[in-house]
């Protein structure tokens, strides 16, 4: 599915943001996830150019249509299974051609996985690690080298507070995110001096359509507020974003609970 540029920009009213800034070129991997879609709505309202990647064509088409109507300058899509790392170089090159450049790559794909199944069966654990860690490393390796050549670019990657300390309720997922956070820290250490930004995003529980009527969900973060924080952190070229920000002190405390106590907790 491909879209001609400028068609929608011409039919949309001249909102201030679009006339002031050049259209930001953004690649979104896992564009049908709740947080990614909400973030894209922020960028669409600013008149960004978006290249969206997800596995399900029907969902991707709905998300793309929405972003066009909301004011994106240009939207193109590709259906891809990001577990297939062999196809990454071709996919990324195609995206950059379509956008005629790249300012931001936003990695938002991932699976929570089934912790109980992963405890029973290594293949399940391996699948979680592949999707959440191996595949992002493949993408980030290619993208980081592209941005280093250009001496600019932002790699915004959704990790998780779950990677800050392993807990029995989801330590396989947590391990994949811990690995991802460590990789991002090292990558930042390497490419920051080359003018490339690496943003590690660590969200806490987020209120989405699914959780909206659950007890206690009023205390969950609003997905649109989370999206605004992420878009702002990308614009500010931050290193790490705990979102909502309260998770930074909370995870500081959790990381510092002595292991002798932590191992007895039910978390």
């Amino acid at each position: 599915m491909s879209t001609q540029p400028a068609t929608y920009a011409a039919s949309a009213p001249s909102l201030a943001a679009r006339t002031v800034y050049a259209s930001k070129k953004i690649l979104v991997l896992g564009a049908t996830s709740g947080i990614a879609e909400a973030t894209c709505r922020v960028w669409a309202a600013e008149g960004a150019s978006l290249f969206l990647v997800a596995r399900n064509a029907e969902k991707l088409a709905a998300v793309a249509a929405d972003l066009k109507v909301r004011g994106a300058h240009y939207v193109d899509t590709a259906v891809a299974d990001l577990d297939d790392t062999g196809k990454h170089p071709e996919l990324l090159a195609h995206a950059i051609n379509s956008l005629t450049g790249l300012d931001v790559a936003y990695l938002a794909h991932g699976v929570l996985g089934d912790q109980a199944a992963a405890e029973a069966d290594f293949l399940t654990a391996e699948q979680i690690l592949h999707t959440n860690l191996t595949a992002p490393i493949s993408l980030l390796t290619w993208l980081a080298n592209f941005f280093v050549q250009r001496k600019s670019g932002v790699l915004a990657v959704i990790s998780s507070v779950a990677g800050d300390r392993g807990r029995k309720s989801n330590y396989v997922y947590g391990a994949s995110k811990a690995g991802l956070s460590a990789f991002l820290g090292g990558l930042r250490n390497r490419v920051d001096r080359e003018g490339v930004t690496v943003l590690t995003i660590k969200p806490g529980p987020v209120k989405t359509a699914m959780t909206s009527s659950m007890k206690g969900s009023e205390k969950f973060a609003d997905v649109n507020a989370v999206a605004k924080s992420i878009a702002a952190a990308v614009a500010a070229k931050k290193d790490t974003l705990y979102v909502p920000f309260q998770w930074q002190p909370i995870m500081f405390i959790i990381r510092n609970i002595p292991e002798s106590v932590f191992k007895k907790l039910n978390l």
């Binding site: 949309a12 709740g34 929405d66 938002a108 929570l112 779950a162 309720s169 699914m210 909206s212 009527s213």
Partner: protein, 468 residues
Amino acid sequence: MQQTSISPDLETRTPENPAAVSPQAASSGPVPFESWGRYPAYGGKIVPLNWQGDFPAVAAGIHNGALPVGMGRSYGDVCLLKDGNLLLTTGMNRLLDFDPATGLLTAESGITLAQILDFAVPRGFFLPVTPGTKYVTLGGAIANDIHGKNHHVAGTFGSHVTQFGLMRSDGTYRLCSPTENPDWYAATIGGLGLTGLIPWATLRLRPIVSRKIDYEGIQSHGIDEFLDLTEQSKHIEYTVSWVDCVSTGKNFARGVFMQGDHSPVPDELKPSPEPKLIFPFDAPGFALNAFTVSAFNTIFFHKQLKPRVKALQDYEPFFYPLDKVLHWNRLYGKSGLLQFQYAIPWESAREGTIAILGAIAKSGLASFLAVLKAFGDVPSPGLMSFPQPGITLALDFPIKPNLSFPLFERLADMTRDFGGRLYPAKDAAMTASQFQTFYPQWEQFARFRDPMLTSSFWERVTGDISPL
């Protein structure tokens, strides 16, 4: 998979999730889903439909009943299904197409009117019809064929829905419009979500050049003054009257007649700010009583110091004064509230309104926020639409078990005797025989019901009637 409080499940909608039903949702069991009146209170299993294509796959896994639901702003049980599956559509909130030349907006049905306004107002468009809250979904607005302050000129919400999709639980799909599948179009508008899932709909927005409303508030005394003002203002787009249902004697049916038009003077079309106030807890049972309500009504009446007040007012306080306080229904405490809304045709509208208001005032069951409005004669497109030409009155009762329900039943009988009907979206108490008198076409409508879809309301007012 039960999440603990620090659990970071972020990706509830991953592409790896074919039916978009997360493992947590599938095993979470009954969770509270409240209607706005918070009565009756039933647990139900919430099954999110985040994508238009989710319904058939979800339906294949359901062997008891289901009901599509949105924001739960209906007052009674049209948005509830005891022991069934609530198909939560609020994740389906994408805009699919917008043509600024015609104002036609196509969107998924779980989008709220607030979200539509956030998009439309900065582009110079407004809802063709809006209820008293913007926190309802597009699908809910169609399913209840809602009305607003401009009913006398614009008709119901459904009159401005040019087409929509209708997906049945067996996977069949229809495009519905006044010319294509017109019988399904008519059955689905006002069809209480029972004819199938509406994945998307096209709504004709109206142009505006300003957020402002040219407002005028006029003190009125009694029903005849209300009727005179209604007649004098029929060329004005929005009219509604607040009426005091507590006072008797010389203050009987005193009120403030409120009218307005969209300002024709171009002005900045910025989006609305986010609401900040949230009513934080359930008020104790005694918070609303004859004294506090009477005091409120007196303040409201005299807040308007002069018999006539003109103002240029933002549309938010004009249309949505209560949206400023999220969860204001908690003011009624845990036991909740009942709404009562009738439409009585013109031939007995005056007589019926005086009689019913008299019965309410005499009952001493406190109620504020009584709203009186004349419905116009624009035909409603829905087979089961509530509005009809005449007078409509809507008011709240705090639930007091031994008092509210007998009064409600008496008022419903009076409504029936005056040839009127009650509004299912507001109802939690009418009897099956009252409903079947109000809506004699209900059996015809029942033939369009999706066999999987039902609601606690439908079960209550029809008994066990199986569709063809």
